[in-house]
């Protein structure tokens, strides 16, 4: 009986705050990058990853693997996308149908390296600037045109050219 009592108490909460701190320090940044690749919004990604760790405090799982953390983050990101209207999904360049988002294979670090290499070597200076201002700084076409002193039509042109080059290089690489 005494032994059983101890067994039960020990199983109430096996994940302590120290375990969570260890996991947080080890995985937070990579989970944030992973979430940000899905939602492409730093603030939303930060909230999602914080919530995943907060759920460990309330749910007290007996054991946690990195796969568990990544799955929890992925589900939270998909739930976020699910909560958005079609228009909001389009504006953020997400998959329009949630089933497509669920099936989408999120790109890994090798893809990120390849993309940056193509941007650095295969695009003109102006194309590179437009692309980074649009997708890294998240500026509107109007803001980009003002910043670079070019027309909005020129922004479209550079963006279109840049995406076409990236698409072609990516496709060649995948073959």
């Amino acid at each position: 009986m005494v032994g059983n009592f101890k067994i039960n108490v020990l199983y109430i909460c096996m994940t302590t705050i120290n375990d969570i701190e260890l996991l947080f320090r080890k995985h937070f940044k990579n989970l944030l990058i992973f979430a940000n690749r899905i939602v492409a919004d730093e603030e939303v990604a930060l909230d999602i990853v914080h919530d995943v760790f907060a759920s460990l405090l309330t749910n007290c799982p007996d054991s946690i693997s990195s796969a568990f953390l990544y799955n929890a983050t992925r589900f939270a990101c998909l739930n976020h996308i699910r909560s958005l209207s079609i228009r909001q999904r389009f504006n953020k360049l997400y998959a329009i149908e949630i089933e497509e988002a669920e099936e989408f294979q999120w790109k890994d670090n090798d893809d990120a390296s390849l993309l940056n290499s193509i941007i650095d070597h295969d695009l003109s200076e102006q194309c590179r600037r437009v692309l980074r201002l649009r997708f890294t700084e998240r500026l509107t076409y109007k803001e980009i045109s003002e910043k670079l002193s070019i027309s909005e039509a020129a922004v479209y042109k550079h963006l279109r050219h840049a995406i076409n080059v990236l698409r072609q290089k990516f496709n060649n690489h995948e073959r």
Binding site: V2, G3, N4, F5, K6, I7, V9, L10, I12, C13, M14, T16, I17, D19, L22, L23, R25, F28, K29, I33, N36, R37, I38, A40, D41, E42, A45, L46, H50, F53, A54, L57, D62, S63, S65, A67, F68, N71, I86, R87, F90, N91, L93, Y94, A95, K107, D111, A112, L115, L131, F135, T136, T140, Y156, L159, R160, I163, N164, L166, R167
Partner: protein, 218 residues
């Protein structure tokens, strides 16, 4: 003259000119869809740089201050475990004192009247047996107390090696990738091998089958 890709680019920043139906129509065009998917991929990959320099210390401080109440609850549960351990020690001590008192009582009888020597000595023998029964039951209690081994970011191979050594089991790996996994896992050695395997199988990437103390890891 605008084509559909120009319209797509325009729709992304000038929503007011396009209805949801217009957007659906645009995305039905395979070229537009392919362009949209590539923009999506580019957007996803270029977003990395904004989060790569995140300050973990700052994020941890924010996390702790935002969940102070949960942290306290967590500490309470941690302390409740300590209290449980203390309770076990207290109960064991009480049993030991009671056992000691019984032994002392019979020891006094033994040293009292010589004429009761025979009958008393039998009782002393009896009490000795009783004490040894108590001691044995305490040993059992100690044996029953589970030993929880906490694996923190340990290789799956090492966990299986420890588990197999304890249960005198053998392991066979069908793939290398599983061996390289790293896990956070609390192993309760009071559980049966089958229960431990069930717990490990709850991890997505792990599939273990057991046959007569032989683990087959796929």
């Amino acid at each position: 003259m605008k084509d559909n890709i120009d319209r797509l680019l325009e729709a992304l920043d000038h929503n007011e000119y396009y209805s949801d139906e217009d957007i659906y129509e645009l995305l039905k065009d395979p070229d537009v869809r392919d362009f949209y998917d590539n923009m999506s991929k580019t957007s996803s990959l270029l977003s990395d740089s904004s989060v790569r320099d995140i300050d973990i210390e700052e994020q941890w401080s924010k996390f702790i201050s935002a969940h102070q109440d949960l942290k306290c609850r967590r500490r309470f549960s941690f302390f409740s475990r300590k209290i449980a351990v203390a309770s076990v020690v207290l109960i064991i001590t009480t049993i030991a004192i009671v056992a000691g008192t019984i032994a002392m009582k019979y020891s006094n009888v033994f040293s009292g009247s010589p004429r009761d020597y025979k009958s008393d000595s039998k009782e002393v023998i009896g009490s000795r047996n009783e004490t040894s029964v108590i001691k044995d039951s305490l040993s059992e209690v100690y044996m029953q107390i589970p030993e929880i081994k906490v694996f923190k970011d340990e290789s799956f191979k090492q966990i299986i090696s420890d588990v197999c050594a304890y249960y005198d089991a053998s392991a066979e790996y069908k793939s290398q990738t599983t061996q390289d996994l790293r896990l956070y896992f609390n192993w309760d050695s009071s559980q049966s091998l089958d229960d431990v395997v069930d717990q490990l199988n709850s991890f997505d990437m792990i599939e273990i089958s057991v046959s007569e103390n032989h683990l087959i890891i796929k």
